[in-house]
């Protein structure tokens, strides 16, 4: 918050009013936030976690209003990151006003959160959002009466149209200026509970410093609820911690005896009972004929036991094709542009390290980042649309049982499927998984899929070494990727998250028409965040890999190479003067090319990467790989498709000639005819390529999404070991059985 405030210069005399926007998921909070703040938004993270934090500022009636978008939550317990973030923000930053956005069609459950904000002792305004929808459903809310009962102002809004905006802002100003009292109106949770509550407040009061920091009313309630985060705060910060905690225990056991139920349950039940009473007074339902329930009508088809599955796969197919069929040509275009740029620079800049660095390190790296951009953009266009309509939760519903067999969540399917195109957007789409364990698990296994970059490598090798069964081999590996990912998920669920079951409890929101603006905002934020965050790392890593593969240079052979080239050049000149010399010229040109290729091969072998490849050769000999394959695999960490071009260099045919069909020998032919290679080795190699270390773009995105290096490091480690074990097994077993030799 404050760090952000430094970035924008504000005149000292203008008062900034800080407003936090909170609410349940699906309450229309985001569209209301957009309506309130316009386009002036800044996206960051809450300190220490990867939960997104959006800030928007506007000027209103001579004041500066700063809005912070809190994560969507159902409650303020300490079970999810979102809840802890919301709670800590309100407790520590003490915003001037909290606007709780409430879905008017679902008043009871939404007010549950509102009550918890009141307990926190902050000024709260309730925004009764989606009033239009509620009216259509025949739900009429008397917001004035609701305000009188709960003791805080309520304003009716329609976030998608921005109506009620002015009224909300005016109310927020009035609350911030103290014209409307909207704090700590005591909620009555029943006489017995109240007396216990006051006993706790009395003990808490014994430390006045603690009382200044936290709302004691709230702390007392949390003590009754046995909230672990609050207990931790008391234990470490209250001067009479022992006494307070002891009193808390006494009160809890008293409640349990008195109500015959857990104190935590009792408190929640009292909240709901209080809300239920309030709603009975302020909500009027249209009597008469039952209204047509649109959501139920759609669900009858979309969630039909059999149709549901067909519709699900239909939608997935559509999104997949939209993303990759439209995205790949765009990506290719970007790729071509950067190749063109590289060519131009090579032509106009003098040869040397600086040119190499610029062309291969920087431009190669920037290109590597931007190549994914159209795919990320299109994918999120599709997924945001599904999320905003409310279908995403249905997709999870349809797939959950199957995914749960492997210890995954219904929502894990989408990241996995997307990863068969590209793991970068796949891992980003794992955000729909609310539970952190499910999300981490899904991210861990997604890069095991056959992705768009592994496809050309494996397809080429399959065509070269299994000419009769290339298709079968390729698709077997494709399915093997799925099978492996699901099995590993099952294994990790048992080993890493043993015995922990994460709840599936998931709201199925009503179907809603997404607003164009909402979808576009979503898409842009996510895609841009990718370029900014992952991009810097991918760029750095690509420079490092370039460096490792290019240095040191074999200076001692350059002179010899120059001489040989000059010799050929002079030959060329003398021949060019003669007539009918095309064939001869071509011949000399070919010789020149192969000289260059041989130089590139020796350079690569001489560099750190090449030496490393030769050094580790013994380790991978068990899998049947030689040092040439090892270098290619090492380079492939930059991006899997690089494996082919690196092999091109390593086999002395130049990276650009890999796919050239006319005249020169192609990599495919070269490999086919090389007696050192056989189908057995190549099958092991293909399996290795499928599984081993995710490309650095993927690793960068994992770091960005999960916020710590330990996750990508673990992934790199386990996939490397797994790839080695499987490749070695395939190679050794087929050797013993004498297959594919």
């Amino acid at each position: 918050m404050r760090a952000f405030g430094n970035k924008i210069k504000i005149k000292e005399d203008v008062k900034t009013i800080r407003i936090a926007l909170a609410g349940n998921p699906n309450s229309g909070k985001t569209s209301l936030f957009n309506a309130l703040t316009g386009q002036v938004q800044h996206v960051g993270n809450y300190p220490g976690v990867t939960v997104e934090k959006k800030i928007g500022r506007i000027r209103y009636k001579g004041k500066i209003l700063e809005f912070v978008d809190l994560p969507g939550t159902y409650s303020l317990t300490a079970f999810s990151i979102e809840e802890i973030v919301t709670r800590d923000y309100v407790l520590q930053e003490k915003p001037d006003v909290v606007i709780d956005v409430i879905d008017s069609t679902n008043l009871e459950r939404n007010l549950y959160l509102c009550l918890q904000f009141q307990e926190l002792g902050v000024p709260v305004i309730g925004a009764l959002n989606m009033t239009d929808e509620a009216e259509n459903l025949g739900i009429h809310i008397d917001e004035k009466q609701l305000g009188r009962i709960l003791g805080i102002p309520f304003v009716k809004t329609i976030g998608t149209r921005g109506s009620g905006k002015e009224m909300l802002l005016d109310t927020a100003l009035q609350v911030a200026e103290g014209e409307i009292i909207s704090t700590a109106r005591h909620l009555n949770y029943g006489l017995e509970l109240e007396s216990q509550h006051y006993r706790l407040i009395d003990v808490l009061k014994t430390d006045p410093e603690f009382g200044k920091k936290y709302a004691l009313h709230w702390m007392a309630i949390k003590l009754m609820e046995n909230d672990r985060e609050a207990l931790k705060k008391i234990a470490s910060e209250h001067s009479n911690a022992d006494l307070v905690l002891q009193q808390g225990e006494i009160v809890r056991s008293w409640i349990e005896k008195h109500f015959g139920e857990d104190s935590e349950v009792v408190v929640c039940e009292q909240r709901y009972a209080y809300i239920h009473g309030a709603c009975r007074e302020v909500v009027k339902h249209d009597s008469g004929s039952e209204r047509i329930d649109f959501t139920e009508m759609v669900d009858k088809v979309v969630l039909n036991r059999y149709l549901g599955l067909i519709i699900f796969f239909g939608i997935m197919f559509l999104i997949y094709h939209l993303t990759f069929n439209l995205g790949n040509p765009l990506s290719d275009g970007i790729d071509r542009f950067f190749v063109w740029l590289q060519d131009v620079l090579v032509t106009f800049l003098p040869a040397g390290i600086f040119r190499d660095f610029l062309v291969e390190g920087i431009i190669g790296g920037v290109g590597g980042v931007l190549v994914f951009f159209p795919i990320v953009l299109l994918l999120f266009l599709g997924l945001s649309f599904l999320e905003d309509t409310g279908y995403m939760a249905r997709a999870a519903f349809v797939m959950d049982k199957f995914m749960h067999l492997f210890g995954l969540h219904g929502r894990s399917f989408i990241p996995m499927m997307v990863s068969t195109g590209c793991a970068v957007p796949g891992i980003m789409s794992a955000r729909t998984l609310v539970n952190p364990k499910d999300r981490v698990l899904t991210i861990f296994i997604s890069p095991l899929m056959m992705c768009g970059a592994k496809t050309p490598v494996i397809a080429m090798l399959a065509a070269a070494f299994f000419p009769e069964h290339a298709g079968t081999v390729f698709w077997s590996l494709w399915f093997f990727g799925w099978l492996l990912a699901l099995s590993i998920a099952k294994l990790f669920r048992h080993v890493i998250y043993r015995g922990e079951v994460s709840p599936f409890v998931m709201e199925l929101p009503p179907y809603r028409m997404p607003t164009i603006r909402g979808v576009i905002t979503h898409v842009w934020e996510k895609s841009w965040a990718y370029v900014k965050k992952a991009g810097t790392f991918i760029l750095a890593a690509s420079v490092i890999i370039w460096f490792v593969l290019s240095f040191p240079k074999p200076h001692h052979i350059y002179e010899q190479h120059e001489q040989a080239q000059q010799q050929l050049d002079s030959q060329l000149q003398s021949v060019a003067a003669e007539e009918n010399s095309e064939l001869l010229i071509q011949n000399i040109q070919d010789k020149k090319d192969s000289l260059d290729a041989a130089l590139a091969e020796r350079e690569l072998k001489y560099g750190m990467g090449g030496r490393f490849g030769q050094f580790i050769e013994p380790v991978f000999r068990t899998c049947g790989f030689d040092w040439r394959m090892d270098i290619a695999l090492f380079a492939g960490i930059a991006a899997k498709e690089v494996i082919i071009s690196t092999m091109g260099i390593v086999y002395g045919i130049g990276e650009t000639n890999v796919e050239r069909e006319n005249g020169n020998i192609t990599l495919k032919e070269k490999l086919e005819n090389d007696p050192r290679y056989n189908p057995r080795k190549i099958l092991a190699f293909m399996i290795f390529v499928l599984i081993y270390v995710p490309c650095m773009a993927t690793l960068a995105v994992v770091k960005k999404e999960l916020g710590s290096w330990k996750y990508p490091l673990f992934m790199a480690g386990y996939t490397l070991v797994l790839a080695w074990i499987l490749a070695a097994s395939v190679y050794q077993i087929s050797r013993v059985l004498g297959i594919g030799g």
């Binding site: 079970f79 929640c268 599955l309 519903f397 349809v398 709840p503 409890v505 998931m506 929101p509």
Partner: protein, 79 residues
């Protein structure tokens, strides 16, 4: 009888939530409290998870979670 035993389209009233830890707190926060009434709407292809209506909104649970919620059958939902 638990929520998992309620047939499709059947109405129920919650008697108690027998879960523990995070799941229990989630369920309670979402409104699965004593006395709350709802309707089971449908089940997914492999009979799991189930969709139900509670307090005027839709929510889905796995059977294993539904089995932790003790309910009684009621004839009809009244608001």
């Amino acid at each position: 009888m638990t929520l998992s035993d309620i047939k499709d389209r059947g109405y129920f009233r919650i008697v108690a939530v027998r879960a523990t830890g995070e799941i229990r707190r989630r369920l309670i926060d979402m409104g699965f409290i004593k006395g709350a009434e709802g309707q089971v709407l449908r089940e997914a292809l492999l009979k799991d998870p189930i969709e139900l209506r509670l307090k005027g909104y839709r929510i889905s649970l796995r059977r294993a979670e539904a089995a932790m919620i003790q309910v009684e059958e009621v004839n009809e939902r009244h608001h």
